[in-house]
Symmetry: C2
Subunit: 252 residues, 2 copies
């Protein structure tokens, strides 16, 4: 049986997240529906990351195991055509960026070595309703240098229990390694990029929520060290909204 | 009774248009629901333009007739707060930009002297799924000069029956005056601005669809003169998608 790794981009605004849920419009559900109908067989995908409702992806990964007959170099285009939404000129809010043949034993999630997320903060007094689903609007000015200093405390291998929302998948350990965390100004945006071997439930959004509170002067940069040491979620900042989060890349 | 003119901005992506329709999520319906609940009385709005599903507005106008007690200078903020969507940090996809006290006889639609629409064409080979709801993607290069030349034939007072979709409100005449029609390049976008005393059903979208066909070389610029003279819808181009259209301003 073929084992194909798909790289998938999506606008998560109108989806209840990646993972299929009966009765809800999900990215995985939509893809499985289109693929099953197109290939006339029951097709299931196994994704790398269960992105939440409203979270976007530039490079989600998922494996498709099936004996479909389309050559690998044509597969992305074939699926994109099947996904096309006529009303909007053949552009869906899901796009297959790449398809790659993998060995039979390969697993999109278990074989992943790490991921990078991007989080977009729009830091300007003027609200733009047309951008609301694609960033986190923060009206008050943020202190970028303080946020960068706070970020230094997060990089490394730590027990990140403080940055985890209860209710996700049960995990055997809350120790994770954040290999890189950068914040750069691009026009009216602050772009947070965070890379690591794995992330706890809502971890990126709670880290960003905490960094924003540092940027607003509600916490000191150094307080982040104490928050991590406390291992207590209630000491960290609020969970930043889903709209600003993009799963950027999965590493193998 | 107070007669208040509201200026309204909205992202029309997730609405079935402006006009209230039972069982559908519409901009007018959503506003009436929020206002009626907030002021605890039955509130109806009268809008200027019945924008279609997926069409956006920067300056829709609507009158609100009711004896509400809020001072005019605080009304926009009060409604915006009532509209706020918690999940997205208090930003709704509808925003009241302005509220103005008007004389009792004033009517948002009948007293309008004209309107300006903006249409955004994204003209680049690379699709961006995150922009699909906010423009019309045209992948093949467009000839801007040919489009500008075609636009000259449209400016003026003409019978625009060729640019009307059947099925809109019945109109006593299909003669309209287009006072201005410009097309400017802004980065990867072509921005069409069209101003006139009134527009037939789908008129802007059919004009844009026709201009795009001129830009692609499928029609000559001068053929637009013949299309208008024919008064026949089937001679014009296809209707450009709703996603690129913005009601920009209403004139009184």
């Amino acid at each position: 049986m073929r084992n194909i790794l798909l790289t998938i981009k999506y606008d998560g605004t109108n989806y209840a997240g990646w993972q299929r849920q009966s009765g809800k419009r999900t990215v995985c559900g939509r893809l499985e529906e289109v693929l099953s109908s197109y290939f006339d067989m029951d097709i299931k995908l196994e994704g790398t990351s269960r992105t939440d409702a409203g979270v976007h992806a530039l490079g989600q990964r998922a494996t498709l195991r099936a004996d479909i007959k389309v050559p690998i170099e044509k597969l992305a285009q074939v699926i994109n055509t099947a996904l096309a939404d006529d009303r909007l000129e053949g552009i869906s809010d899901i796009e297959i960026v790449d398809a790659k043949e993998m060995p039979e034993g390969f697993h999109a999630r278990f074989d992943s070595k790490g991921k990078r997320y991007i989080y977009k903060i729009r830091n300007t007094k003027d609200i733009d309703i047309f951008k609301k689903n694609y960033c986190f609007h923060v009206r008050e000015p943020l202190d970028l240098e303080a946020m960068k200093k706070a970020a230094e405390h997060i990089v490394g291998t730590h027990d990140f229990a403080c940055f985890q929302t209860a209710g996700g998948n049960s995990v055997s350990t809350t120790v994770r390694t954040v290999s890189s965390l950068t914040i750069e100004k691009e026009n009216e945006y602050l772009i947070v990029k965070i890379e690591g071997d794995g992330f706890l439930y809502n971890m990126v959004r709670i880290i960003v929520g905490t960094l924003v509170e540092v940027g607003l002067g509600k916490r000191t940069a150094d307080s982040v060290k104490d928050i991590i040491e406390s291992k207590n979620r209630s000491n960290a900042g609020r969970t930043a909204p889903a709209s600003g989060l993009y799963l950027d890349e999965v590493f193998y």
